[in-house]
């Protein structure tokens, strides 16, 4: 009996303690915060960082090894995933700090995860994220620090950047995210497939009519013309289909329900391509990874994607994606990158691109005396004149003094990307970065319904616009 009583008492005690523990998270954190500075007397991180910000002396002497939670999109097939790992390792080695890397491939799920993390108070210390409408919620909530606020304590923070090229927040016009590398969206081609179908690699004057004619030839040769998973990642086709019915001058203007003709026409253009059978047979049920594999394995000819896919294609040409020495150069040489076919007022050389992402320092990290220095140091390091060129490569950067690009270190696809970029006539931001959240649902997640005719393009577009203007 005594044993049962004892057991019951222990069980009841455990339950009460679990309730008490859950209710006292804040105090537990405070305890950590209080204890942290005492433990930070070993390594003066400030002195060892390559960045040149001047932190208050008291803080730099107290700074010591801390663990920063960092979340970026440098993961998976992102071309800079390896660069990011190497840079993080270098920063950790120099400062003695450590990084808990929660990076993930950039997609809608990633965006949702990040925004939810902010909403539930579990945001990272440093975040590499979009600077468009996707960031509105946590900027509105005051959960990230503006560059000006950081400069009030660290005057040299991001001083190597051209402020004019750093995007203003759509919320308050302030600058929050320190950019690293720009991006472009263009059309990758598998020239092995093109050769087999008797199609020439498209050039700077490529039109939609020529594209359709080429697709017919490719299809007749037994290949899939376009590698795209419309049920998973229709984003790139969505953007360019709308762009093809507009011009660089007005692409970033979100239409009203009365002026949405260009958007509706864009959706109908994708529907026409689907009905012509240019997309993979399983485009509505495939994932982006599957259709990308079709492209790299020589079963599909065209792939519209971003500059980050250069690294993904290179990885696909390596027998060991982690080991660059295993690169199959012959296979890589079959890939090229060119312009998305133009139409109407948009020339093929008018591309989607810009500086759409950057490093944020969260307020949680800023308010934590143990982490503030480390967070500033980390962002300063990752956006330094030495590190940014590693990431920017064939894309743009916001550096004031961008060093000359050493193309001898580039692989063949990067060199082709540089050549393609040299003839670009304009770079326009993606309107989907302004068209945030649930207003995209009807045309992004709803793309399969649009192309199959289950929902008309007009209904889907108007539903999205109505949601946008109701926000």
């Amino acid at each position: 009996m005594k044993r049962k009583r004892l057991l019951s008492t222990i069980l009841a005690g455990v339950m009460v303690l679990s309730l008490a523990a859950c209710g006292s998270t804040g105090s537990a954190d405070k305890g950590t915060e209080a204890a942290a500075p005492a433990a930070q007397t070993e390594t003066p991180a400030k002195e060892e960082t390559p960045a040149k910000e001047e932190a208050p002396a008291a803080e730099s002497t107290e700074a010591g090894p801390v663990e920063l939670t960092v979340c970026t999109t440098f993961a998976g097939e992102d071309g800079n995933a390896q660069n990011f790992k190497a840079s993080v390792d270098a920063w950790c080695a120099q400062t003695g700090n450590s990084v808990a890397d929660t990076s993930a491939t950039s997609d809608e799920t990633f965006k949702t995860r990040v925004i939810t993390d902010f909403e539930t108070g579990s945001e990272p210390d440093v975040l590499f994220f979009f600077n468009g409408a996707d960031a509105n919620s946590f900027i509105e909530a005051g959960l990230v620090m503006s560059i000006d606020e950081i400069r009030a304590s660290y005057p040299d923070f991001a001083s190597n950047m051209n402020d004019d090229l750093i995007a203003d927040s759509l919320v308050d016009g302030k600058k929050y995210a320190v950019p690293v590398n720009g991006y472009w969206e263009a059309m990758f081609v598998n020239e092995e497939v093109l050769q087999a179908a008797g199609v020439a690699t498209p050039g700077a004057d490529y039109t939609m009519e020529q594209f359709k004619a080429d697709c017919d030839k490719i299809k007749a040769a037994g290949y899939t013309p376009i590698a795209a998973a419309l049920g998973n990642i229709p984003h790139y086709w969505w953007e360019y289909a709308i762009f093809n019915n507009q011009s660089p001058a007005n692409h970033l203007e979100i239409p009203t329900v009365d002026t949405a003709d260009s958007w509706i026409a864009g959706m109908n253009d994708i529907k026409a391509l689907y009905e012509a059978g240019y997309f993979p047979e399983n485009t509505l049920s495939a994932t982006d990874d599957e259709t990308f594999a079709m492209f790299t394995e020589g079963k599909a000819a065209f792939l519209i994607d971003g500059s980050w896919k250069v690294g993904g294609i290179v990885n696909a040409c390596q027998s060991d994606p982690e080991d660059p020495s295993t690169l199959d150069q012959n296979k890589l040489d079959h890939f090229n990158v060119t312009y998305v076919p133009g139409q109407g007022s948009r020339k093929a050389t008018d591309l989607i691109g810009g500086l759409s992402m950057g490093y944020y320092i969260t307020k949680a990290a800023w308010d934590d005396p143990a982490k503030r220095d480390a967070a500033v140091s980390f962002v300063s390091y990752m956006t330094s004149d030495e590190v940014v060129p590693l990431f920017a490569q064939h894309t743009a950067s916001a550096l004031k003094n961008a060093p000359a690009v050493d193309t001898t270190k580039f692989n063949s696809l990067q060199v082709k990307a540089m050549a393609m970029m040299s003839d670009v006539t304009s770079l326009t931001g993606a309107v989907q970065d302004l068209f945030m959240g649930d207003c995209r649902i009807s045309t992004f997640d709803g793309m399969p319904e649009i192309v199959t005719g289950a929902v008309s393009a007009e209904d889907a577009v108007l539903e999205g616009l109505n949601t946008y203007y109701a926000q």
């Binding site: 309730l19 509505l284 649930d438 997640d445 319904e449």
Partner: protein
Amino acid sequence: MGANIYRNKKPAIVFLVPAFLFMAVYLYYPFLQNVFNSFQEIKILGGRGSGLTDPWYGNYVKMATDPIIRTALKNTLLMIAATLVGQVGIAIVLAIMVDNIRIGKTFYRTVFFFPIVVSATALGLLFNLIFLYDKGMLNQILEKFGKTTLTDWKGEGIALLTMMIPVVWQYVGFYFVILVTGLNNIDDSLYEAAYIDGASTWQKIRYISLPLIRNVICTCCVLGVTGALKVFDLPWTMFPKGMPLKSTFLTGTYMYYQTMEAKNVDYGSAIAVFIVVLGIVLSQVVNRIFRQKEDWEA
């Protein structure tokens, strides 16, 4: 002391209060908050609502006219049927077969139970490879047998079946172990008597095994139905966002989609309330259909 401890209820109450608090904090409060949220306009998870929807029961009206929730409900009911027939049904057959062999019982128990210990997400990824359109295991096998075209196992029309196969497969072993344990509890003397009377194997199963494990089967059916209502991770891993054409949504995956992907937190809350009501109703129905009987009733 002695029997007095049974008359004094205070210690019992003291010990029950923490458990009640635990349930109140982690179950009843979130549930009531969720009901409240279903009447609010909420776009941000964890954020405060911007007021009542117009009308205040708007989300429930929307649910009544939402064709996707009907698809999700139909799929969930099909999943329940697949669970009863596939999981419990196959488990009964396997349990009886294993019960009738002399050697290898432990081996089969382990083999059939093994999928339970693997995470559903990992299984989802595994089956993604099996059902892959290009170079998937299944299509490669069919190619070996001379099929010249690829089958889109995740395509419209066949996607639901593709989703149900791994879900059913994963939990067969769970019910198998429960049923084998039930069969082991049957006294061997009954089988010996039947043998002496000249009963065939089928007659022994029909008139001894199945009647005596009826209650175990009922328990498995109740567990199967309630489990099918909660299936989430494996279908979401294989068919995110109800792909293709939102035809594979279950009530649980649709609630997650609305809350986490479409940012309709209030509508997701309303779907959650619907799932709870559905669960209660189905549990009552299942309990009535499969209610356990005392041995003398059997």
